[in-house]
Amino acid sequence: IASDTAHFPRSFGLGRVATQVEIKKLDIDVRPDGKGLPIGSGISAKGKSIFELKCAPCHGIGGVGGPNGSLVSSVPAAGKRPERTIGNYWPYATTVFDYVRRAMPFNAPGSLTDEEVYHLTAYLLHANKIIDETTVIDAKSLPKVVMPAHQLFIPDNRKGGPEIK
């Protein structure tokens, strides 16, 4: 059957070896332990002004209530559930850096400098009351930020069989 690989050669010899330079160009991800974070640093105050310029039109002044969703926790209107935000639903602070750098602003993805992303990350963490306004966010400090939602996350416990989970 097709899945059997016993007849495969040790190598098909296809593809070319990737150089460190080209890997580095593409390897933009950031892990919770900080692996992947670039040099640079940011602070909330600088992030705030970038945010107001480049992000607030979609995510609201102060990160609350824009057409593309809040990023900052706020007190919900009476009878409403709180919006899911970085402050109440994100388990890792590194994800803010990773995601903003790869995908935002939506209309110009990939346009921010690492420094800008650090500032924005600091701003979003501060606006969500996770860090104070003096905290400098960099490759060392960001992985250490403990997110309010962290303890809520559990791995999938469904496993098939009769039980509804």
Partner: protein, 386 residues
């Protein structure tokens, strides 16, 4: 009936005019359209997906069989469908490997290939709340294709995945630079680096020129427009596996909920169709991300009793299966519904069972039984759940 299909492809025009002008009164008396390069739908068939900006739902109620026409495969993307030059596109595999490699599309096509018919479903595939919902609106974010590509295990052998690699990051080349962390085990098991769909190249909406395809897993993990795989000893905790594609379950947040739970839906009769008195073949689709469909039961009395439906062979692993149940409708008001059992013994739950098990937060992986109300005049309406 003016009908034309025009495909302007890289400066070359393909034109296939089926009919322009009036319908012939008697088609046996006029020579028809001569043979062409590309066919098209009859102008009488209006099959369309239902789009929002970020997704587009397959018209399940209009389909026959188990294959989804490629141009009607559901869409879900986080920054639109990119336009990618297949001659420039490359796939990099690096991280915890002996030998990081870059593959051109033409390299990938030279490896031993594999094909399988399997569904792809978005885990956010559930709507209810009003009576005028069609299957397309309730759960049109599932489709099925024959996927062809190279097994990821074949590429893993080629790069030499290290023993301490437990997760890999899959990254797309779209404007979202979509990323998901996947257990390496899935890569060895049955992951496919797919470059073809239903006989031809992937469609742009489905990841052209190359995508990850993870049979039975929530659609978002089958990263499209794939450009990079990084082997790692831990998950990356990307936005798509933390802020999104996680479920609030009894005060906790369930993460890495990859498997698609077994599900079924009656597609005929369904809203907005209408039935007439007499024999009705109830038809639908059933599937499970955990393996094969074992049985589908149908109730024609609002769940009081259940009968075995017939399954159309071949019953494939992690695939939509057609089910059918012959019912004589005498004009009574009633409700009809289906539930599937998969090979693990999992039985598709009711909405109430799901809420009881998970709490009232809703969210992804909502695979509840969907019921259709049959009205005495033959109208068919969704039964909103609460």
């Amino acid at each position: 009936a003016a009908v034309a299909i025009v495909q302007t492809a890289q400066g070359k025009n393909l034109q296939q005019a089926i009919t322009v002008g009036d319908l012939p009164d008697d088609p046996t008396k006029v020579v028809g359209t001569l043979a062409g390069e590309v066919g098209t739908r009859s102008s009488f068939e209006k099959l369309v997906k239902k789009p929002s900006d970020i997704s587009s739902r397959s018209p399940l109620q209009d389909f026959y069989g188990m294959i989804t026409p490629s141009d009607l495969h559901f869409e879900r993307h986080h920054a639109g469908v990119p336009t990618i030059d297949p001659n420039k596109h490359e796939l990099l595999i690096h991280g915890l490997v002996e030998k990081p490699l870059v593959f051109k599309l033409s390299d990938l096509k030279r490896f031993p290939s594999v094909s399988r018919i399997a569904f792809l479903e978005c885990s956010g595939n559930y709507r209810t709340g009003k009576e005028t919902l069609s299957p397309q609106e309730i759960c049109g974010l599932t489709s099925q294709s024959e996927w062809t590509g190279v097994k990821l295990s074949t590429l893993f052998r080629e790069v030499g995945v290290k023993p301490n690699a437990s997760w890999f990051l899959a990254e797309g080349g779209d404007a979202a630079v979509m990323t998901r962390s996947i257990p390496v085990k899935k890569g060895w098991d049955d992951a496919i680096i797919a470059y073809a769909q239903n006989g031809e190249a992937l469609r742009p909406e489905q990841g052209y020129p190359v995508r990850l395809f993870l049979p039975g897993w929530e659609g978002n993990t089958s990263v499209k427009w794939l450009r990079r795989l990084e082997l790692s000893d831990a998950p990356f905790m990307t936005r798509e596996e933390t802020s999104k594609y996680t479920e609030s379950v009894n005060g906790k947040i369930r993460q890495f909920s990859f498997d698609i739970d077994a599900r079924s839906i009656i597609t005929y009769p369904s809203y907005p169709q209408r039935i007439e008195k007499g024999w009705v073949e109830i038809r639908g689709l059933a599937w499970s991300g955990r393996g094969k469909v074992v049985q589908v039961e149908v109730s024609t009395n609002a769940g009081k009793s259940w009968q075995l439906a017939r399954l159309q062979e071949p019953i494939l692993d992690k695939a939509h299966v057609q089910f059918r149940y012959l019912w004589e409708w005498k004009g009574e008001s009633t409700e009809i519904m289906s539930r599937v059992t998969d090979e693990t013994g999992y039985v598709q739950p009711t909405y109430q069972q799901l809420i009881a098990a998970r709490g009232a937060d809703g969210g992804y992986h909502f695979n509840a039984i969907a019921s259709w109300q049959i009205k005495p005049d033959g109208a068919v309406l969704h039964k909103p759940e609460k």
